[in-house]
Every structure is written in C-alpha cells, then in structure tokens.
C-alpha cells in the first residue's frame, strides 16, 4: 500500500488543483474535456512510456538530460539541439512555478492569521489576490513586498533542500502529507457537491449547473486549435511528460527496474486527483460563487488564479474553515516543493553529465539563473509575462518536445526495439495497440495540433498581435529573453559535445 501512496504522492502537484481548473474554464469547460481525454489516451500514456523507456536506456550511457538522451537514440547534431528543450522547458516553468508555490505558503500563513478569512467572508477574494500580487492597493495589502517575501522564502527553501541533499527527507514527508492532501481533497469535494444554491438570489448558480459547466460538451469549440493545444499541454504538464523531468529521473533507474507499470500507475493516480478531485472542486466552486462568465473572467485573469479565489470561499462554508484552509494551502505548498525540485533535476543532470560539474556547482548556477528568470514573472505579472511564460514554456514547447521524442522513439530508434526496451523488467505488458499509437497516431496527432495551431493562431502569437500596446514591450522582452536562453543552451551543448569528442579522440590516439 505504501508504494501506491508514494506513487500518488509523486503524481500530485499544483497542476492538478490550480492549473487544470483554469485551463478547463478558459477553454470553455465541457468543450475542453473531449480534447483532454483524447490527449490522455493518445498522447499522455504513450509519451509517458516513451519517456520512461528513453530515460532508463540513456541513463546507462551516462546521459540524464534532453540533449544527451536524444543523442543516444539519434546520432545527429539536431537531436542535441532539440534535446535542449528538455532543459529549457523545466527551467522556464520553474521560474514562475516557484512563485505560484509561494502563494500557497502565503495563503497558508494568512489562513492562520485570519486575514484570508476576512476576505472570504466578504466575498472579496479577487481583490485579496490582486492585492497580494501587488496589482492593487487595498485593505489587505499595500504592495507586492509580502508576496515577494514568501517567494524568497520558497525559493531559498527549494535550493536549500536540493543543495544540502535532503530532498529525500522532503519526499518522505510528502509520502505522509500528500495522501492527507488527497483525503482532504475528497472531503472538500464532498462539501462543494453539497453546497446546493448558496445564494438564493442567483438560483442558476448551483452545483448541478456548476457540474454542467465542467462537463456539458460544446462541440462548436472543437474546431478551435487552441483548445486542442491547451488540452495536450495540460496533459503533458500534469503528467510531467514532455517537460524533461520524467526522462531525467528515469535515467537514474537500473536496467531491470520496471517502467511500464510505474509509468501507467503514476498516470492513473494523477488523473484521479486531477479530474475527479481537481475538476470537481475549483471549477464547480467558481461557477457557484461567480457564475460561468465570472469563472471564465477569473481564469483569463491568470493561469493559476481560479483556485486562490475560489477555495477560500469554499472553506468559509465549512466548519473549522481557518484550519482546513491552512492545511489545504500548506499541503499544496509541500506538493509544489517536490514538483519544483523535480524541475531542477534536468538542469542539474545537464550540468553534471555534459560538463562534469559537481552537484553543488550545478545547483549554484541554476539558483542564479532561475532567480533572474523568476523576476519578470513576479514583477510584471500584470503585463502578462507569467502567462506568456506558461504558454510558451508550459504548453507550446512541451508539445513540441513531446513530438520530437515520440518521432525519434517510433521512427528513428524503431518502435519494435522501443517496445522491447519498455518491457525489460516490466511487471505488465503494454497493449500492442500502443505500438501503432506511438508510431502513427501520437506523432500525427501532435503534428496536426501544432500545424493547425500555427495556421490558426501561430503567427498572431509569435508576433504578439493580441498583446495590448502597454504590455507589448514586456511581452517582447520575455520572448527575446526565452529565445536567448534557448540559444545559450544550444551553444553550451555544442561546446560540451565538441569537448567530449576531442577528449575521446585524445584517449583514442594515446591507446
């Protein structure tokens, strides 16, 4: 049973309770669920197996990050460059994720002090959140400094754990804390489902209609490429596949460790928490308190806002509201810590394996880089910088990297060899249909999404045409910054591999 709890604990993160509801609400509720389910079956599960398998296999060649791993399977310079996405993506996500994580710590603190309860009682949670983010001065906040303080504490804690090598201790704590979070999630879900119609003046804002907002399929939205891209991005984000994290962790496995059952068990536990708990709590709650338009408006206000606005209002309808609120945000914070630490692992493996740096040096370099990268996301959140990083880092590049991985695995390495590798030490047999899916369906699906999205929205997004004039300079600087960072990784990779080739030649000529 311990192993199930540990897998479930590993699978839970902020994506389940905070990002998923926003993605679903932003993309039309029920309209989102059909692409989401399709993405789970045809993208999430196959790419999960591909990553676990590629990572474990490349680990025996002493490569643990995107550039090295892809190069094991495809001996072409381009594989290393594309593999840089496996380092770029988790670091970009980390830069804003750690800030969202710090909100959880802040909200846990304000639950204890009672400040959060005051806003929840008055239904002024939107104002509380924007005050906390430093977007507006109000009765609770006069600037961003408290949020920044919690960010510094969270950032320092992350790097302390990883620098001191105590992440195993955190994970042991999480093996207890996260199952409690899941149990708490079940209790809160039950409370939401029994909220009925809290405001008799708004009889339409009830539980059944809230569930309808989440589940009623809207087929007209299925022609919108952005919805399909968002669904694929959410599946990859929540399962941590296409990010570079799983492939890196798998590279530390032994050859006879199972990857087939480990991978699918992690997927199943994650989906249980995300769809059944995450989907029932925040979206239904948001609909009940704010209506369909209000929920969508909050969702469009920021990629992670919905849970922070809705949850305190749900807690206010529960006995011991401050205690539940404190526990919820603290446990969510702990879930966030393990997830954010895992996002640093690809960068650490990149510096350790390709440059031969010690762990301490690698962690120090990453600390400096990610601290700088986090600043625009924090300070210019009102200019949409965080959302832009989330879209390009957390959605587009993730889908792109997954496409590259699955094509290399299915077509260059060969799906038959890949399937054989997947089943080394496996405790289950993956259904044979997945050979066909991995080779044909998944790459076609991913290329179709990317192509269709490029046709429909790509140019507008690349040229920032939908960005308001006052946000444009910030958005442009963010795009350039991300481009420069990616280019830097490509150049660094080229240097690392050139050095290795020369060293190998040198050794060869001596012998």
């Amino acid at each position: 049973m311990g192993i199930i709890l540990a897998v479930a604990g590993s699978a839970v993160g902020l994506g389940n309770f905070l990002r998923f509801p926003v993605q679903a609400a932003q993309n039309g509720g029920g309209a989102f669920m059909i692409p989401y389910l399709a993405a789970l079956l045809l993208l999430g599960i196959p790419v999960c197996w591909v990553e676990w398998t590629m990572g474990r296999s490349a680990g025996s060649h002493k490569h643990g990050s995107g550039p090295g791993i892809l190069n094991v399977f495809w001996k072409h310079r381009l594989s290393r460059y594309l593999g840089c996405l496996g380092v770029f993506i988790p670091l970009v996500i980390y830069a804003y994720y750690v800030y969202i994580e710090s909100w959880c710590l802040g909200y846990a603190f304000f639950s204890l002090t009672g400040r959060l309860g005051e806003a929840a009682q008055a239904g002024e949670m939107k104002s509380f959140l924007s005050g906390y983010q430093g977007l507006a001065g109000n009765a609770w906040f006069s600037g961003i400094w408290l949020a920044y303080l919690f960010f510094l504490a969270t950032f320092a804690a992350n790097f302390y754990f990883i620098y001191r090598g105590v992440t195993k201790g955190i994970e042991a704590l999480n093996n207890i804390a996260l199952p409690i979070l899941i149990i708490l999630g079940v209790i809160i879900m039950a409370r939401v489902l029994f909220l009925g119609t809290p405001d008799p003046a708004k009889p339409d804002q009830n539980v059944i209609n809230g569930m309808g907002f989440m589940w009623n399929p809207d087929f007209s939205k299925l022609t919108d490429a952005k919805v399909w891209l968002a669904a694929a991005g959410q599946i990859f984000f929540t399962l941590s596949v296409g990010l570079g994290s799983i492939i890196t962790y798998a590279s530390y496995l032994r050859k006879d460790d199972d990857v087939a059952l480990s991978g699918i068990t992690a997927v199943s536990m994650n989906e249980f928490v995300e769809v059944i708990l995450g989907g029932s709590i925040a979206i239904t709650g948001a609909f009940i308190f704010f209506g369909a338009d209000g929920a969508q408006q909050i969702a469009h206000g920021g990629s992670f806002n919905l849970g922070f606005v809705t949850m305190p209002m749900v807690f206010e309808k529960m006995p011991l509201s401050a205690l539940f609120s404190f526990l919820w945000f603290l446990l969510l914070f702990l879930a966030g810590v393990t997830s954010s630490i895992s996002m640093l692992q690809p960068g650490i493996a990149f510096l350790e394996d390709e440059f031969g740096l010690t762990r301490h040096k690698s962690v120090t370099i990453l600390g400096a880089v990610t601290f700088l990268m986090a600043q625009p996301a924090i300070l210019f959140i009102d200019k949409g910088v965080l959302d832009l990083m989330d879209f390009w880092g957390g959605t587009f590049c993730v889908v792109l990297f997954a496409t590259v991985e699955v094509i290399i695995f299915g077509w260059i390495f060969g799906v038959d060899k890949g399937f054989e590798e997947l089943h080394n030490g496996a405790d289950i047999r993956a259904p044979k249909i997945f050979k066909f899916i991995i080779k044909y369906v998944t790459p076609t699906y991913l290329l179709a999404i990317l192509g269709y999205w490029m046709y429909q929205d790509g140019l507008d997004n690349l040229l920032l045409r939908k960005v308001s004039p006052e946000s444009f300079p910030y958005a442009l600087a963010t795009m350039i910054g991300m481009g420069v960072f990616m280019l830097g990784l490509v150049i660094a990779t080229e240097f690392a591999f050139t050095d290795k080739r020369q060293a190998a030649k040198h050794v060869g000529s001596k012998t």
Binding site: L37, I162, M211, P217, D256, S268, A349, D427
Partner: protein, 57 residues
C-alpha cells in the same frame, strides 16, 4: 447539466477510476522483490546526497 454532460462525466470518471483500480491492483499483487522495481518518480535516487556527478553501476 445536459444528458451529454452526464454521459461525458460518467464515461470519464469510470475510465479514470477503472485505470486507477487496475494499476493499484497490479501493484498490490506483486511479490516483495518485484514491487521493489516499481519506482515512484520522486523516490528514484538521483544521488542528491552526494556532491558528485552521476553514479552508475
């Protein structure tokens, strides 16, 4: 909530619960030695306690 909504909900929940139960059952019936090969992602040893690069057998 429309009929379509209920169908989507029931189908999705059933699929996810069935998958979770299937996986949990598969893990729980493993013998001790086999179960040691199942790795929750964060329990994989990345060598973070050693200030040294990758250790491999």
């Amino acid at each position: 909530m429309t009929i379509g909504g209920w169908i989507t909900l029931v189908f999705t929940w059933s699929f996810i619960i069935a998958l979770a139960v299937y996986c949990a059952r598969k893990v729980l019936i493993l013998r001790q030695a086999e179960a040691e090969h199942i790795k929750p992602i964060y329990e994989i040893d990345t060598g973070d306690r050693d200030n040294d690069s990758r250790k491999k057998e």
